[in-house]
């Protein structure tokens, strides 16, 4: 499937009806975009569309090409080949200052020689708006990011979170059709980051514009996005809603990158039956053919620990860690170390049975080549 995306046959499986309705409204379309730095290929024949009014997140490890993709949309990089279509027009060679979108940078990039109000007014002054209009806009924007009354302060006197909110205010007063955000919460501490996630969702809903968000933080992506694009090594691995990405990862990389998972080699014996570690499990997948080698993904919270005789296979608990919300256990069973999350405690050394509800077993095709396997798990 990953190969399909790379070749440009883009599809978005499992779209919700709402998304499906809006499908024709492609605001940004990247067509066959390739970008190299020297001999290093950062983006390889990338195809991606972004719909009006969606919160789309480019998610992946560092070096996967997500920031380059954003910078190509923003106009700070030019694709070597391919086109960027914005609202039906080819903007591949349009400089950033002529594009109807604005960027929020990771390190805020506020103008330190200007007050907060002057920072926010910058784009509007360039566009020669009336001073009353600018004044109203500054007030509106500061209210929107909950920093009312900070207009006369200098950027240096604000905390990181406040500076980032000013950077957002500075961008949105220009009423862009799209707001690009390059790991905007990367420099903030955990609590602040979580608060800002809700803040961003609220902003997105209030403004009703498109957000394109870059992050390596899967939790951030799952919390905020309408659509997640998982990238690795210049290729799109999967596109889908957060639920799609989490529940139906299309390859081992996605499964491993998004949350914890048990990825086990198995054989699809026939429709609805998969053999894992020598035992037969019922599943809901079909159409893989008979006796086909596959990868099986089982999320740790979907593994049920039961009495040994009730389990599909049996094993022994080898480690136990208290994680707050749940216990994290490792169970050695049939030569595989299963990661298990459960609110029920099973002490180390206890013999347990492992059972998985058919719906919670996700079957994936094996990678087709060595090359793609390398893309996988070791990030």
């Amino acid at each position: 499937m990953a190969a399909d995306f790379a070749k440009g046959k883009e599809s978005r499986p499992g779209q919700t009806e709402k998304n499906y309705m809006a499908q024709n409204n492609k605001l940004i379309n990247l067509e066959n975009v390739t970008k190299k730095y020297g001999s290093h290929v950062v983006l390889d024949d990338l195809n991606l569309y972004i719909r009006e009014n969606e919160f789309l997140t480019l998610l992946g490890p560092s070096g996967c090409g997500k920031t380059t993709t954003l910078r190509i949309i923003g106009g700070f990089e030019t694709p070597d080949t391919g086109r960027v279509i914005f609202d039906g027009q080819d903007i591949s060679n349009v400089p950033p200052n002529k594009r109807q979108l604005n960027t929020v940078f990771q390190k805020y990039a506020l103008f330190t020689h200007m007050t907060i109000a002057e920072n926010i007014a910058f784009g509007l002054k360039i566009k020669k708006k009336s001073s009353q209009y600018i004044k109203d806009k500054i007030e509106y924007a500061l209210k929107l990011v909950n920093l009312d009354g900070y207009g006369n302060r200098m950027p240096d006197s604000l905390s990181g979170g406040q500076q980032q909110r000013i950077a957002i205010a500075r961008a949105i007063v220009n009423e862009p059709k799209v707001l690009l955000l390059d790991e905007p919460l990367g420099a903030l501490d955990l609590k602040l980051r979580q608060d800002m996630q809700y803040e961003l969702i609220r902003l997105k809903n209030e403004l009703g514009i498109t957000f394109v968000y870059v992050t390596h933080d899967q939790e951030e992506a799952l919390t905020m996005s309408d659509t997640i694009v998982v990238m690795n090594q210049g290729y799109i691995q999967q596109i889908g809603t957060p639920q799609d990405i989490y529940n139906e990862p299309q390859n081992a990389f996605v499964a491993d990158f998004i949350g914890d998972s048990n990825i086990i080699g198995g054989v699809m014996l026939e429709d609805h039956v998969v053999e894992i570690l020598g035992a037969k499990f019922q599943c809901v997948d079909e159409g893989f053919g008979n006796n086909t080698p596959v990868d099986v993904v089982i999320r740790p919270e979907d593994v049920d620990l039961v009495e040994p005789e009730e389990g599909t296979i049996q094993g022994v608990v080898t480690s136990l860690i208290f994680k707050g919300v749940h216990y994290e256990m490792e169970v050695e069973a049939n030569g595989f170390s299963w990661l298990v999350h459960s609110t029920d405690l099973s002490p180390v050394g206890k013999k347990v049975g492992i059972r998985v509800v058919p719906f919670d077993i996700q079957i994936m095709n094996k990678p087709e080549s060595e090359d793609e396997e390398a893309v996988g798990v070791n990030e």
Partner: protein, 284 residues
């Protein structure tokens, strides 16, 4: 508890004083005393009476016109330095050199050669039968009269002091992050607007440093006007030198020095007023 703490604090204080003692002695011996001596000579006559005649000497027509000419020439030199240095520093910044050391070295290297030697070299180049006029003659063009003109002095000043303008400006420019420039472009600013509204204001501390470091030595130099002006163009630094060496008039020379010092101080105060954030600039 608090008693021993205060004891410790007072001991630390004495320690600090002890360690800084050599520097205090040095400052007093080589900065404060000479300054006081100049002030003393400046406001007294040869037989030790207090007078302001030495200070008023600046208003004598010859001295005053010399000061005006000196200010004019050093202002022009400073301005030319800025006009050359700023675009150069911008270009250097955009080169994105990995090590700043190389850039600094490039402009420091000529400074390691003797200042007099470099100025004398210019004399040879600009002379009536110098390098430039030889080349002009070779292609059949009329000779130029450059040496011993104000232009020659300005050229010498610009050549000698240019590095002092480039380095502080480059240092400040190199620190401006690309994100900030891209953010300005993102908000709709074109290249020119980015330069005027973002890069230039952010580089002001470097510009102020550069202006100070060029203007002050240019105003007080007498070597350059001596060599490239042929002694025909008198600058204020030369007048002061003559008072000391030829006229043996220490009181007059000190008086003029004081006036010049106050004048420079005022100039710098005005420049710095326009750049409150400047972290002090070399000279003061």
């Amino acid at each position: 508890m608090s008693k021993s703490n205060t004891k410790l604090a007072s001991r630390n204080k004495w320690m600090q004083r002890f360690i800084s003692a050599p520097y205090v002695v040095w400052s007093i011996g080589f900065i404060v005393l000479p300054l006081l001596m100049i002030v003393f000579y400046g406001i007294t006559t040869k037989d030790g009476r207090v007078t302001f005649d030495n200070l008023k000497m600046i208003f004598e027509p010859t001295n005053f016109s010399t000061l005006v000419l000196s200010v004019q020439l050093s202002l022009v030199s400073t301005l030319v330095c800025l006009l050359i240095a700023y675009p150069l520093a911008l270009a250097l910044r955009s080169l994105k050199l990995k090590s700043n050391g190389l850039v600094i070295l490039m402009f420091m290297l000529p400074m390691w050669m003797n200042f007099l030697l470099r100025t004398i070299a210019w004399q040879n180049i600009l002379e009536k039968n110098g390098v430039i006029n030889m080349l002009l003659g070779a292609v059949g063009l009329p000779k130029l009269n450059i040496i011993n003109t104000p232009a020659a002095i300005v050229l010498g000043m610009v050549y000698d002091f240019l590095p002092f303008m480039i380095i502080p400006i480059y240092n400040v420019l190199a620190k401006i992050s690309d994100d900030v420039i891209q953010a300005a472009a993102d908000l709709g600013a074109n290249q020119f607007q980015i330069l005027i509204r973002i890069i230039f204001p952010l580089s002001l501390p470097g510009v102020v440093s550069g202006l100070t470091m060029v203007f002050v030595p240019a105003l007080t130099t007498f070597v350059i006007s001596d060599i490239l002006g042929g002694g025909k163009i008198l600058l204020i630094g030369k007048v002061i030198e003559q008072k000391f060496k030829q006229g043996n008039d220490w009181n007059g020379g000190s008086g003029l020095s004081l006036v010049l010092m106050v004048f420079i101080f005022l100039c710098m105060a005005i420049v710095q007023k326009y750049d409150k954030d400047s972290e002090g600039s070399g000279v003061w």
